[in-house]
Structure formats: structure tokens, C-alpha cells
């Protein structure tokens, strides 16, 4: 085959071959991790410091506003933040503005609680469940006692029966709002305007990689105290927990996924360079023929 035949063959390559190459590029580093270093970025450090600065026994309102499609990026964050909170002795109040958020929070708790057997439901953490309405929920929490918005928790028990709810009046009783957001109706659209802008509360959280650029301006102005960006943020946060605080089993899915991310990005960059090179050769050939 001549050189141009090779180029034409590669240009018309079935996309399923590319899918297969990507599949191999995902599977190999998953089974055989490369152990690439994960230095913490400035944003992950900032979020870590925000959590460290909370007083002992702080009340964290943890809003899980994502569904399983955001799970691969946000669930590792959820587990890491919960580990950090439990290590520092904070109280965690889960809720969700997305219907599947509280269930995913429950999954995170089930995984993390094995390393913290002394933590009890209703004493150290609680899951208030899902409530529809977006910022109407947050505004209601701010203006009325919390049991009017959440009379029962996810287990359908009255929240007043739990010791953790002692002293919790309304939204302003919490020391920080941490929101993991998979899209609209979360940190940016609800907790930032209500908790931070209207009541001056500290707001921090995590987001998917897709939404990360939207948060940069709010971090720059200080409106959002700290943000974890996608799986990279989760991996960096896990590293910080492991190295700075020695938290047990802090290294999780975040770190194991980052090796794969690096390999896949290299493969995609290779494809882009090669495809553009062949495109350039094709243009040159057409110019020569014209």
C-alpha cells in the first residue's frame, strides 16, 4: 500500500476500533494501577483548610444534589468529606434536593461507617431525606423551624426524637453548608443565593468536572469558600486526608480513577494530533492536485 492509501485507510477507520482502544486504555490501568503522583491543587487545599478550620463538633449541612449519573465523580467526594467530618468529630446532617441524593448519601455512610464504628445514626449523623422545591426548601429552612421542612427523616421517624437535632433551630444553626452538585438545583442555584448571600453562611462543596468552570468566579470572590472539582478534586482530597491526617482508608475510588484519566487523556491527545496531521496531509495532497 502506498503512503496515501495508509492515510485514507486510517482516516476512514471504523469508530468501533477507537472505542476498543479506549476500552483497553481504561481496563489496563484499572487492573494495574500506575501509581502516578497526585499533587493537591490550590482549590483542593483551600477546601481542606475550610473543613479543618471548623470548630470541634461543628454542624455540617451536607446537601447531596446529584443522581447516579454524577456518582462516579461525586460519590468519592462524599465518602472523603464524611471521613474528614467523622475524624474531626463533626455532626453531619444529610439532605437532598435531588430525589436520589439521600439514597446515595446512605450508600456513602454504609461504606465509611465500617471505619468509624463509634459513630451512631441520630447522634453523629442523620439523613433528613429528599425535599422537592429547590430554593423554596432552603428559604423555608431559613425562615421556619427545621422540623416544619423536615418533620421526619429518611427512616420516616420524627427528627425531634434524635439527640443530634438538639439545638438545631433553622438553617442558621449550621456552621457550614457543603453541597455536592451534579447540575442545576444545588450549590450554585440554591445554597449560594440563600445560605451565603442572604444569611452570610459559609458555603463550600464539590461539583462534576463539567460544571467546575462555573464555580471559579465564585471561589475567586470568596462567595464559595472551597470547591472540589470532579474526580481530580476527589483524588487530591483523598491524598490530603491520607498524608496530612492519616485518615484510615482515605485512598478510594478517586485516586484509583486518576491513573485511568491520565492514560485516556494521553490516548485522546494522540488521536487528535494524528487525525489533524492526516487532515493536513490530505489538504496538501488536494492543493498539489489542484
Amino acid at each position: 500500500m502506498t503512503n496515501m492509501d495508509w492515510i485514507r485507510t486510517l482516516q476512514s477507520l471504523d469508530r468501533r476500533v477507537i472505542y476498543l482502544i479506549l476500552l483497553i486504555a481504561v481496563i489496563v490501568p484499572l487492573i494495574k494501577p500506575l501509581g502516578l503522583p497526585i499533587p493537591a491543587s490550590q482549590k483542593s487545599e483551600q477546601f481542606f483548610k475550610v473543613m479543618e478550620a471548623l470548630p470541634q463538633g461543628a454542624r455540617i449541612l451536607f446537601s447531596c444534589d446529584y443522581n447516579p449519573s454524577g456518582g462516579p465523580e461525586l460519590q468519592p467526594m462524599n465518602e472523603a468529606i464524611l471521613r474528614h467530618a467523622f475524624t474531626n468529630g463533626h455532626k453531619v446532617f444529610y439532605l437532598g434536593l435531588w430525589d436520589q441524593g439521600p439514597a446515595l448519601a446512605s450508600n456513602a455512610v454504609d461504606k465509611v461507617i465500617k471505619d468509624f464504628p463509634d459513630k451512631k445514626y441520630g447522634v453523629d449523623y442523620i439523613n433528613l431525606g429528599y425535599k422537592a422545591g429547590g430554593y423554596a426548601v432552603a428559604m423555608n429552612m431559613a425562615k421556619t423551624p427545621i422540623h416544619e421542612t423536615f418533620p421526619k427523616d429518611m427512616r420516616n421517624e420524627p427528627i425531634a426524637s434524635y439527640p443530634i437535632m438538639e439545638g438545631v433551630q433553622d438553617l442558621k444553626s449550621f456552621d457550614i453548608v457543603v453541597g455536592l452538585t451534579g447540575g442545576n438545583n444545588g450549590l450554585l442555584n440554591v445554597w449560594l443565593p440563600v445560605a451565603q448571600a442572604m444569611y452570610g453562611m459559609k458555603v463550600a462543596g464539590g461539583c462534576t468536572s463539567v460544571s467546575a468552570p462555573q464555580f471559579y468566579q465564585y471561589v475567586q470572590t470568596g462567595q464559595v469558600a472551597g470547591i472540589l472539582e470532579g474526580i481530580k478534586g476527589a483524588a487530591e482530597y483523598e491524598q490530603l486526608l491520607h498524608h496530612r491526617k492519616g485518615v484510615k482508608n482515605a485512598i478510594g475510588k478517586g485516586c484509583s480513577s486518576i491513573d485511568v484519566q491520565s492514560v485516556i487523556h494521553l490516548v485522546i491527545m494522540f488521536f487528535i494530533v494524528v487525525a489533524n496531521f492526516f487532515y493536513y496531509l490530505e489538504l496538501k495532497r488536494k492543493e498539489a492536485m489542484a
Binding site: 468501533r16 472505542y19 479506549l22 476500552l23 481504561v26 481496563i27 484499572l30 487492573i31 443522581n67 449519573s69 456518582g71 462516579p72 465523580e73 430525589d99 436520589q100 431525606g129 429528599y130 425535599k131 422537592a132 422545591g133 430554593y135 428559604m139 418533620p151 421526619k152 420524627p158 426524637s161 442555584n189 449560594l192 443565593p193 440563600v194 451565603q196 448571600a197 442572604m198 462534576t208 468536572s209 463539567v210 467546575a212 468552570p213 468566579q217 465564585y218 475567586q220 470572590t221 462567595q223 472539582e229 470532579g230 474526580i231 481530580k232 475510588k253 484509583s256 480513577s257 485511568v260 484519566q261 485516556i264 487523556h265 485522546i268
Partner: protein, 247 residues
């Protein structure tokens, strides 16, 4: 996690999840009925879960419970207070005003139900009333939120000092100010984009916007890849190794 630690429910659930994941992935080869089945099952179950959860946590609490409480109050002459074990402890006195306050939830519930009239042929006009409420409420809160979170704080965040700070910090501030201004110049259509200010400014603004979109696209790729990684991680470590290879 070994197979010995899994319950029967977890094993069955993992197999179902793995099979459905592979059905979805079969689309990469070509469209087929297995993919369609998995897709429709996903859409249906998501909608069903959402309906059930919203009904239980919102409609029951905000509509059915207050109306039931109102009838209970009318029957007992007040609100019965029960202990956690269900034993009647006392009756809280409640007058007509309290009962009416509970029954008033029927009004917003009825307005909300008017939305369903959209599905009918001749009575769809009824849905305009709840839409009016939603648009009015959304605009009212949206305008306030936009001013409090987007306009004023972001304007403040762009008013950065160039003097009296370290040179690198001053350079960063200058870059931020120039990027914001040139980006805004691009969207200023009241004058033609000509001349050293608007012409050059809008050209630079285009580059700034392209860099922003490129960064956004890059993070989107990372997010999409992570969806694949998450599924492959599940298939390998939660299904294939423990349940197929029994490792």
C-alpha cells in the same frame, strides 16, 4: 469485596446492574433491542422512583397530612398528641382558625393539579394559572438572587487593585480585568466593532471566550471519561472478579 460477604439480594442486584450496563454498552457496536430495552427500563424506573419519592416526601407531608390533621382536629375538638409509642398523651386545643389554616393547603394543591390539565385537549388553558405562579415566583426570586450572587459580588470581584500589591498579583489582577472587559466588548452590539478600543477589544474577547470554551470542553471530557471509568470499575471489581471469576 468477596462473594462470601455479599447477601443474595446484593448478588442478584449486581448481576442485573452488570447485564443492563452491558446492554447499554452494546450500542457502541450498533443499535439493537437490548440497548432499547435497557434504555426504556432506565427511563421508566427513574421516573417511577422520582414519582414515588416526591409523593411520599412532599405530597403526603404537605397536602394529605394537614388535611387529615384538620379532620382529626374537627373530630377530637383539638389536635391529639401521641407519644412515640402511639399512646394518646393529650389533646392540644385548636380553634376554627387553626383548622382552616390546615385546610388551606387544598388551594395551592388544586392550583398545582391544574398543571395536569395540560394533557387534556379542551381544558389545557387551566394550566396557565399555575404557570403564572411559577413564572412570577421564579422571576421574583431569580432577579433578587442574580443581583445578590452574580451581579454585585462579581462586580466587586473585578474591582481589583493594580497598585500597592506584589507585581505578580498585580499582573494577575490586570489579566482578570482585561479578560472580563474584552469578553464584555464582544457582546456589546450597539456600536460596530471597529477601532482600537471596540475592534481590538472584541477580537481579544473572542480569543478569551474560545479559551474559556476550550477549558470547559476539556473538563467535560474528563467528566464523561469518569462516567466510563465508574462503570468499568463496577464491572471489573464489583461484578467480574467477585461474581464471575469468584476471586
Amino acid at each position: 469485596m468477596g462473594i462470601a460477604t455479599l447477601t443474595t439480594g446484593e448478588i442478584v442486584g449486581t448481576w442485573i446492574a452488570a447485564i443492563l450496563t452491558l446492554c447499554i454498552f452494546s450500542f457502541l457496536y450498533k443499535d439493537n433491542h437490548l440497548y432499547k430495552f435497557a434504555e426504556y427500563l432506565f427511563v421508566g424506573s427513574s421516573a417511577g422512583y422520582f414519582l414515588a419519592t416526591t409523593w411520599q416526601t412532599n405530597f403526603t407531608q404537605y397536602v394529605f397530612q394537614p388535611v387529615a390533621d384538620a379532620f382529626t382536629m374537627m373530630a377530637h375538638g383539638g389536635m391529639p398528641i401521641h407519644s412515640l409509642g402511639g399512646r394518646l398523651v393529650s389533646v392540644e386545643p385548636a380553634g376554627a382558625a387553626a383548622i382552616l389554616a390546615k385546610l388551606l393547603v387544598i388551594v395551592p394543591a388544586a392550583i398545582g393539579l391544574m398543571m395536569v390539565s395540560m394533557l387534556t385537549k379542551n381544558h389545557g388553558w387551566l394550566s396557565r394559572y399555575p404557570i403564572c405562579f411559577l413564572v412570577g415566583y421564579g422571576s421574583g426570586t431569580g432577579i433578587v438572587f442574580a443581583i445578590k450572587t452574580d451581579i454585585i459580588p462579581q462586580l466587586k470581584g473585578t474591582m481589583l487593585p493594580l497598585l500597592g500589591v506584589a507585581p505578580m498579583v498585580a499582573l494577575q489582577h490586570l489579566v482578570i480585568i482585561l479578560c472580563v472587559l474584552t469578553g464584555i466588548f464582544y457582546f456589546f452590539f450597539s456600536m460596530e466593532h471597529r477601532g482600537p478600543l471596540l475592534g481590538v477589544g472584541s477580537r481579544v474577547g473572542i480569543f478569551i471566550l474560545m479559551i474559556t470554551f476550550g477549558a470547559q470542553f476539556g473538563t467535560t471530557i474528563m467528566g464523561r471519561i469518569q462516567l466510563l471509568v465508574g462503570r468499568m470499575d463496577f464491572l471489573i471489581y464489583d461484578w467480574f472478579f467477585p461474581l464471575v471469576l469468584r476471586h
